[in-house]
Point group: C3
Chain length 136, copies 3
């Protein structure tokens, strides 16, 4: 029997396809690609936190964090964050937001590794992030 | 000594460079990026299952599955699927195909997490998928 | 207490944001996205090994290797390499360089799985590679 469990925070909608927002199996936790959607409201379509990189980056990080927490993990357990941006011109601002966000997280362990690449995303979305964590 | 083993299903060609189609080490199994190539025929170049998203998506999923099986894993063990599309306009159709495919797989565990991004692929290829699995 | 450790080879600059060049926790090692920067020189900005795919690919692989080594791992432990190129026209040459590089590494285990996709990267950079390793 598998002990693989789906992680679905109350803030998240049911996934729009046959995937999980996050899964944990043993001490491995994988967070699916998150975007800057606000907490789900029943009967309403997913809505980005706002049109700006600032709003979407902070909401995306919060959405990743919610899934980690649902699986009993924290930022300290994260090994890798994959950051997908749509514009190389957003790199400096994303880093500023990223640094400020993590400065407030009271990390006890070294920060995760990270890869940032520039891809296409659905219209209106400026950032997507997924995460791989290894729990103690 | 490492117990890392290469996973090369009989349906697959020898990789075109110094990589493995899949590797397993301990309970971790990684599937390399798969595309919609039909089962290899000796002496012939790799050939996509067809020009359509439908044909390529179903063949790509089957190619991922074959590597999982070669390593003693099934879809139930998959933690993460990374889906690379070339066109945001393909998202809805890919999700329909994805959902229908997994509805037929008789999953016993929650579905894997997933990230979908839009990138460039070699001419004629519309989708690429890789997978990370954790076995029991 | 977490045993997660940051991997920062002496050849690498301090990361430009709140991430680690690599992290190891237990037997899992993740290398952040590496590009073809030459070994860091104090007081100077990061400088690519050269403008060509050859120069950048070989330096990028060396930068990945340095982080693996810092964490007590080698190429034999690598499960997955993600290769990000900017131009599909670079695939054949990258494969030649990749094959030649690994032919010289005296691998004892099967090569890692790999996914190659085509994305945007900061101006002047032609390749980025990250790696997931599982140690014995």
């Amino acid at each position: 029997m598998s002990d693989k469990t789906a992680l679905t925070p109350s803030t998240h909608t049911t996934p729009p396809a046959a995937f999980s927002h996050g899964v944990r199996k043993g001490n491995i936790l994988q967070v699916a690609g998150q975007v800057g959607f606000l907490p789900a409201v029943e009967g309403q379509p997913p809505t980005p936190a706002g049109p700006t990189l600032r709003e979407q980056t902070l909401q995306t990080l919060e959405n990743v964090r919610a899934i980690l927490a649902e699986g009993g993990a924290s930022w300290d357990d994260v090994m890798m964050l994959r950051v997908y941006l749509t514009d190389t011109g957003h790199f400096a601002e994303m880093n500023e937001l990223y640094n400020a966000y993590f400065a407030e997280q009271d990390l006890q362990a070294p920060p995760a590794a990270r890869t940032t690449v520039y891809v296409g995303l659905p219209a209106g979305l400026l950032i997507e992030i997924d995460a791989l964590a290894v729990l103690d």
